[in-house]
Amino acid sequence: MSASIEINRDECTGCGTCVEACFVDVMRWDAAEEKPVVAYEQDCVWCFTCEINCPAQCINIIPQMPGQQVHPY
């Protein structure tokens, strides 16, 4: 389970909500640019919390489905 994360940095206002919202430490804060960076994309579980809560609506998460990959049988 993983995802591709697109952030439109031109539209991003640098509010930091996505960094706070990420519960798996994928998003980090770029202090120099004052913008978020996708630091650990491989750990994204496409909960969509960052995307839903982004005031500028400048995040697009492209989920890799299925979300469970180990075979149960």
Binding site: F23, V24, M65, Q68, Y73
Partner: protein
């Protein structure tokens, strides 16, 4: 008030709470309410107000609401969910506290759904309990409340171990995910609130890796009920998304309904039999398994039920997920291939009624100790078997823990800081950063997932498969000393991998010890429940460096509900409002002419009606109807009802007119009976209905039936006088049946 670590190494606090999710925040708030002078530090590996599991589910809270019977609920739970492994005293406490706990949450600022009159807006479920609901922004008001009360918050700090000095827990140690700095905590009381172990499998709860469970175990705390950490749900194979209540409409590749094949009667939640059945179908070549959403309203109702409340954040999350599936997922279909989704939910830290672990100074709440507290018995932390009890358990556990934590921190002097222990832990915690490339945490976690996910290791278990699973876990554990990290994020993964492997071992060892089948634990080499030998809890504990498994008898003699007792669900009685304009004769007429207006009687719930045996001319006895109706949130079901003689019914009655409706199975065996009785009142009729449940009828549903019955009878005033009048034109008694149900008439009737 959020404190980002600069470079301190030691935090002093009266109370340290590890895990800033729902339970951790609730505990912090409650401790401050009880003892404002107590200093409380809440630390989380991610961001308090966003992290944890609570805001990534359906936002429902299990409650016992007015109309739900606590005794009936406990009876049902112990017999059908906990299967006698419950701590019944704590189960009663949970049931009694639940409604007030949901209200307290609202007092703290969480948007809990309420009626216009200010009561909780609950959904009564068919099995005798209810769901309240909160919106998914619940963490923000809790965070604001905690900050207002002076709770200090520390984000992005992963706690790895608790500190122990002279047998007492004196704090904890961890590191910052941001800059890798070492963080040590000096506390009088420490609460583990950092969740259960989901083995990194379930997307939305991916960081529930058993951090707190591992810390407690490594410090020597006892684990209990660890064999119940093996939850599966039905998932959409193409997306991996759980289909809640999807277990009700499953079909194999040949089109055979396997839900009815492997389940008997309605179930409160996914039963173990359907997991084993799905695997059996696939292994015997009748897979894949499909769910047919068009075939049954039930799965969609399970989902749709959560949208009945006005909760914008719930709606936003689900709408968003659906939209993404449409955009990037498989094409939509009514017939969807499903699979089994392993979630785990190992929550084994043993606690008492005040959430104290077996180590002085250490408490564990929420999912960290859901199974370990034993109130729920032979089941894992939710979503298993009692939906909505994850949030409620976290809330009540916080409320139960807070007084003893506050008291303890007042009575205890600050601990001495053990420099040597701190130095040892520091070296251990940072070791993976100092290694060259070796074993990756991702590979270790994946290897453990390959052991815990298969049904043969986690569900259809036997001695051979469990020993095989343990040897596979051991192979991963042997390589733990090779784990390497390149940065603090990777360091966190290494510790999570270690916790996941440890939790897997604890769960498998407990499962190997329980040589019987019970609740959500199934051993194919011991398929029967064994009350003679196994009314015992399995305790797992670290002694020196070994994992030691022992058992402990359940104090069943102290508990109210014991195996072998027959069910004794109290009668459900409904005193109806006066039926204005409805005469007793009209009601007599109705019972033998129901096919003439069945849908009118309860327009929402009544679906179809047919007489299997019509009432005899002039009488009623022995008539059998097949009524298809819906009761509350349950899907429509066909019920077989026979009219029986009130004079032979053991339910006492006082009114002049009466009839007995007996619910019967295909062999004519009575499962439950309803006595309807009525008589003339000043403006029409007064009426009472009493339902008696016979024998072990698990889905007793008194509360749901009462609502349903009240809705039916109150509708008499709307249609019965008109229907009765219209039918007076038909004089043929074989078509327009006539029957008096007054006591005097029955006594005069020839036998």
């Amino acid at each position: 008030m959020t404190e980002e670590i600069k470079d301190p190494t030691v935090f002093d606090t009266d109370v340290l709470i590890i895990g800033g999710g729902f339970g951790g925040l609730a505990a912090a708030i409650r401790i401050k309410e009880l003892s404002p002078e107590t200093s409380v530090l809440l630390v989380d590996k991610q961001t308090i107000g966003w992290g944890g599991k609570a805001n990534k589910g359906a936002g429902v809270l299990w409650v016992l609401a007015p109309g739900d019977e606590v005794d009936a609920f406990v009876d049902f739970h112990v017999k059908n969910i906990g299967v006698y492994l419950n701590d019944q005293e704590l189960l009663y406490a949970m049931a009694h506290e639940s409604y007030g706990a949901a209200q307290k949450l609202a007092d703290w600022g969480v948007r809990v759904m309420k009626t216009p009159e200010g009561a909780l807006d609950v959904s009564h479920l068919p099995f005798g309990w209810s769901l309240a609901a909160a919106d998914l922004d619940m963490m923000q008001p809790l965070k604001a409340k905690a900050e207002k009360l002076g709770v200090r918050l520390l984000n992005k700090t992963q706690v790895v171990d608790v500190l122990k000095l002279d047998g007492r827990i004196t704090g904890a140690a961890g590191f910052s995910l941001l800059d890798g700095s070492f963080a040590a905590f000096n506390s009088k009381a420490t609460i583990l609130a950092n969740g259960d172990c989901d083995f990194g499998v379930m997307r939305m709860w991916a960081n529930a890796c058993g951090d707190g469970i591992a810390a407690a175990y490594n410090a020597g705390a006892e684990m209990r009920n660890a064999e119940f950490g093996n939850f599966y749900d039905v998932i959409h194979k193409g997306t991996g998304i759980p289909i809640v209540f999807g277990f009700n409409a499953l079909f194999n590749a040949q089109g055979e309904n396997i839900s009815s094949k492997y389940m008997q009667g309605p179930q409160p939640d996914i039963p173990i039999s359907i997991i084993l059945g799905m695997e059996k179908e696939v292994m015997e070549g009748r897979g894949p398994i499909y769910i047919d959403l068009a075939e049954s309203a039930k799965p969609s109702e399970g989902g749709a039920g959560i949208f009945r409340w006005d909760r914008p954040h719930v709606k936003a999350l689900f709408d968003h997920e659906f939209a993404k599936v449409r955009q990037y997922g498989p094409a939509p279909a009514n017939r969807i291939e499903v699979s089994l989704g392993f979630t785990g939910e190992l929550s084994a830290v043993r606690v008492d009624g005040e959430m104290r672990t077996t180590l002085p100074g250490l408490w564990a709440i929420g999912d960290t100790s859901y199974a370990g507290s034993a109130w729920a018995g032979a089941t894992e932390a939710p979503p298993g078997r009692l939906r909505g009890s994850g949030l409620m358990n976290a809330m009540i556990a916080a409320l139960l823990a807070a007084p003893s934590v506050a008291r303890h921190s007042k009575e205890t002097s600050p601990p001495v800081f053990d420099d040597r222990e701190i130095a040892r832990l520091k070296e251990k915690i940072f070791a993976p950063l100092n290694r060259g490339r070796g074993y990756s945490a991702a590979e270790a976690i994946r290897s453990i997932q390959e052991v815990v996910v298969p049904v043969k290791y986690s569900m259809r278990r036997n001695k051979v498969t469990l020993e095989e699973a343990l040897s596979k876990v051991a192979a991963v554990q042997e390589r733990m000393s090779e784990l390497y990290a390149e940065d603090p994020h990777g360091l966190a993964k290494c510790h999570e991998a270690s916790c996941i492997a440890l939790c897997a071992e604890i769960g498998f060892r407990a499962a190997l010890a329980r040589t019987e089948s019970r609740g959500w634990h199934y051993r194919e080499d011991y398929p029967q429940r064994d009350d003679e030998n196994w009314l015992r809890w399995i305790i797992v504990k670290k002694i020196e460096n070994s994992m030691v498994v022992t058992t402990e008898p359940i104090p069943i003699e102290r508990y109210k509900i014991k195996p072998g007792q027959t069910a004794s669900v109290p009668d459900a009685v409904v005193e109806h409002d006066e039926l204005i304009g409805v005469s007793p004769e009209m009601i007599d007429w109705w019972w033998v002419n129901m096919e003439k207006g069945y849908p009118l009687w309860e327009p929402n719930d009544h679906k179809s009606f047919v007489w299997e045996v019509p009432p005899p001319v002039g009488g009623y006895l022995g008539a059998i109807q097949i009524a298809e109706e819906k009761m509350g949130p349950m899907p429509p079901m066909k019920i077989r009802i026979r009219w029986d003689d009130p004079d032979k019914c053991p339910i006492p009655r006082t009114y002049e007119h009466a009839i007995v409706a007996s619910g019967i199975d295909p062999d004519g065996k009575v499962g439950a009976m309803i006595l309807h009785e009525w008589e003339k009142s000043p403006r029409g009729s007064r009426m009472r209905s009493t339902m008696r449940f016979l024998g072990p009828v698990p889905p007793a549903l008194p509360a749901i039936w009462k609502m349903h019955d009240r809705a039916e009878v109150s509708t008499f005033t709307k249609f019965l006088p008109d229907l009765y009048r219209l039918w007076q034109a038909v004089k043929d008694p074989a078509i327009n049946r006539q029957c008096s149900l007054a006591k005097s008439s029955r006594q005069n009737r020839p036998a």
